[in-house]
Every structure is written in structure tokens, then in C-alpha cells.
Amino acid sequence: MTLLSVRDLNIRFTTGDGDVHAVNNVSFDLSAGQKVALVGESGSGKSQIALSIMGLLAKNAIVSGQVMFNGNNLLAASNDELNQIRAQKIAMIFQDPMSALNPYMKVGRQLSEIVELHEGLSRRDARIRAIEVMEAVQIPDAKRRLDAYPHEFSGGMRQRIVIAMALICRPQIILADEPTTALDVTVQAQIMHLLDDIQRDMDTAVLLITHDLGVVAGFCEDVMVLYGGRMMEKSKVGALFKSPSHPYTRGLLRAVPNIHDQTGQLHAIPGSPPNQMNAPTACPFAPRCNDVIDTCWQTLPELTGEDTQRACIQPVEALS
């Protein structure tokens, strides 16, 4: 069952120098219980997609397309309508637990405030819910920690609180915007396992936004690769890692350091991300592509294919 359906999403930002085309013609579906990764390098527009779903884009954003949820287009919804969906139906986990918590508010209060508002619980009941959700994210001694301030927690514990904030109303969809980027690797593994367990228990759909392919491989079923605000490839995780079908995905996977690689070299994709000041008329990856041919500079490839969808005019066999 499709919960969330994004169609032809375009996000532009008006700046003094002209419009920045951050996201171009992105479409995807999210079903109940599905775990989808949105992968891309910095500036590829992946966070902006999540923010547009939540209605939290910056003021200079111009957005078009559709984000359908329960028969409503979230992009056209008013702020009051969105407030009914936020936290209760769709919640977001922020990237940096150091700044996503209010430093002057006790964490228990930050949690209970949400259920008091949305479910009309009394202060006491809301506190009990806060303890429950803190236990659900495995914060030991939750009862005592309820009255602690964010600075009294370690980074990993704080990220658990941030996750608890997203979970407390049992949303159907969680948008996890790089939930482990600010954490060190061991804590990262704990948090991803926690998210995995919770996702399975509550049958939540998760859109995981990340640039870390290791996290994707361990957590998700489907992957979407974004480049220059355009969808490059959409596929199952297994297929993507085994036989990436798009030159960009291949470059990304090659860039992951391999312990068996004896040369000791790191493989970067040459060049730098595209300037998004103008609406693209050709494949945005063409300037950095190894397999570029003349027609790449003239046509804008669309996503095509069945199980594995790819936006490349060349057949897979023709790629190096």
C-alpha cells in the first residue's frame, strides 16, 4: 500500500544571482513498512526533498509537483493542516543531535510537550509516555534522565532522544536525514540497529537520507541515487551493489575504500558537482562521466526500466 507518493517534485531557490534548481522532476513512492534510501553527495538536494515533504523549506523556495499523503497534497496544505500531520503521521529525525535539541529545556519536557499538544494528554500521562518512548530507544534509567538537560547526555544518547521525539506519536513515516552522520562509527551502528528494530516493531516506512553507502547496504531494501537534484538510478539494494547500472552509481561505489585494494589509492570521481543555477538541458553527470558520448550533451535522460530504473541514454552493456 502506497503511503506517500511524490510526483514531479521541483524545488527552486530564488537568490540574488538567479534561481538555483535544487531538485528536478523527482518522483517516488513509499509504502508502509518500506525502507528506502536516498543517496547523493552534498548539495544533491536530498535534504530538501525531506524538508519539502514536512513543509519546512526556506522562505525563498519555489516548489512545484505533488506530494500525496492520504489523498492530500502536502505541498498545497496550509501550515495548520501540516501541523496535524507533522509528528503524528510523518516525522523527521534530524542530522545533528547537538543542535536539534533545545539546550534550555529538559529532555522529558521536550518529549512530553509533543503528546500534550497532539493527543491532549495531561502532564502526568505525557510524562509516562515520555518515559515509555525513552525506554523504547533504550535509554537506561529513563525515569531519572527525564529531568536532565541535553548537555548532560553523550552524542549517541542525544541522538536517541532525537529519535524518541520523532517516534513518540507513532508516525507512519519517518524521514531520517543523515541520522548517524554526526556520530562516531560504533555509536552509528547502535543507532542504525535501534532504528531497524523500531521500524520492524511499528511497521513504519523509513526514508533514509544519507551519503554513507555502508549504512544503506545494512539497512535498506530500495535505493534511490540523486545527482544534481535529479534521480539517476532507482533499484533494489542487492542489485545496486552487485551491478550498478549508472555511471554515477559506479563511480560512487568505486569511491568507497576497499580493504582488499592493495594499491592504496582512493578513487574519486573527477570534477566537481554541477552548478545548478540553470535548469539542466543535458545529463548533469555528463561533464564527469567516463562513458560520455556526443548525444549525452544534448538529451536529458529520463528514468526508464522495470526493476532497476536508470536515467542514462546508453545501454548498460555499453558502459565501461
Binding site: R86, A87, N102, I114, P140, H151, F153, M165, V187, Q190
Partner: protein, 311 residues
Amino acid sequence: MTSAKTHLNSKEFAEQAAEEMITSRSFWADARVRFFKNRMAVVSVFMLLCLVLFAIFGHNFAKWSYEEIDWSILGKIKTEGAPSIANGHYFGLDELGRDMFARVVQGSRTSLLVGFVAGITSVIIGSIIGAMAGYYGGRFDQIVMGMYTIWLAVPYIIFFVVWQAFFGRSLAQLIMVIILVNWTAGLLIVRGQVMMMKNREFVDAARMLGLNDFAIIFRHIAPNVLWVVVIYSSMVVPEVIMMESLVSFLGVGIQEPNTSWGALISEGASTMTFGTLWQLAYPAAFFVIAQVSLYYIGDGLRDALDPKDRR
């Protein structure tokens, strides 16, 4: 994989991780410790407390009320009106034969009341408007900033005179007009702080959680800028006392039979050529003590609360 995973998700592991939890004091507790380490600030708090107690309870120690005229000394004030324990006029007499001690108690009461009530109210009003201007930005912000700029050009003493000509002269009117003149206090600084705060991620997180603007401004942003408001209030209160004294000195502020430090200083200054210096010295001393302590308290608060100057 599974065994590693169960380990990572086990209670023991979480407890281990929680061990790194630091227990430390809250920001305000920290600030309190720093404030009480500042000796000048503590002395000033003590002095101010004495002044407040004097203003509240001083009349109990006066032998004379501020309305009574000591007819036995009237006319001989220069020779017999000096401060004296024997006749009960601890601070001497003013030129109308009234007890200066009772008058100073009365003046302290007025000046401190006006200072704290008008000062703090105007900072609160300015802060709320500033917070909304900073949070909403756009047209509302432009209007507020336009009003602020226009307000800077209004000569406030003339404003006092005109206001009181229309609405009469009373303590309540005085407080109201001072609030009106000072509504911009705290506006700019809170506006700037809120503009900085609203781009912080926890504000986005609050919006993501479906909180309305009111909850975001007053529950999430306000506690983060409260320290600025506290510091600012401690600077505005002595400024308002000064303003009140100035307008009273000029004769457009507080009116007889009520009095304030400024009015008393004005009276004392007008008679100092006759050699009755005590009529000037006592209210002036109280005024100076209040101003100096308030400024030192403000200084101490700034050192204690401003996170940038922690050391």
C-alpha cells in the same frame, strides 16, 4: 551478524554507553555560582536590598511624617534645621520645615517603584515585539523597525510635557509615559538574538513536530534569549531611574506633595546657596548608591550570563 547485533542492542551496552553521561549544573545554576563569586556584585545586591527595605519600612523609624511641618523650627532652618538625633530630624528639614528623613523614604519609594516597574515592563514589551519581529521577519519586521527609527527622533522631554498636559500628572501617568518612551528597550537586541535562534535546528525540529508559532516563540526561543533580557533589564532600570530623576528635576515629572530622588535633588540644589547642604546631600547620596549598585549588579549579571566572556 546477529550476535554482534544483539550485543549492540543489549541493555548492558546501552548502560555502558550511558556511563559517559556527564552530570553537570544547569546554565542558570552555573551563572548563579559565577555571580556570587563577583564580590562587587554581591555587595551591590546587599546595598540595593538595604535601599529597598529602607523604602518599604523606613517610615516606621521616622519621628515625623512627610506631611507634617515642624513649626518650631520653621523660619530657623539654616541654624536649627540641620540633621540631629535629638529633635528626631535625622536628615534635617527641608525649606518648608518638613522632615527630610520621611521625605527621602517617600522619594526612594517613588524612584525605585518607577525604576523597576517602568523599566522591567518596557523591557518585556520591547522584547516581545522584538521577538515577533525577529521570528516573523518580512513586512511585520519592516513596520516595527520603521516605528523604532521614527521613535528615536521623538524628543522625550517634550513628549513628557505634552503627555502630561493631556492626561494629567500622577504616578501612574508617569510610569505609563516612561514605558511608552522606553518601549524600544530590548527590542533590537532580542530581535537580533531571535533571528539567530530561528535558524537553529531545534527550532526546525519544533516546527517539524507540529508546534504552533506561539509555542515555538515562547517555549523554545524565549528561554534561549532570556539571559539577554535579564542583562538588558539590569541596564534599563538605572536608566529609567535616571530619566525619572531628570524629568522631575526639570519639573515635568513627579508632583508635590509626592516626591522622588530627582525632585528632592532639585529642591536641595535650589537652596544650596543658603548653606543647607543636607537638603541636597541625602537624596543625592541615595541616588548615587542606587545607581552605582544597579550598574554593578548589571555588570555582574553580564559576566555571569554572557557565555562568550565565561573566563
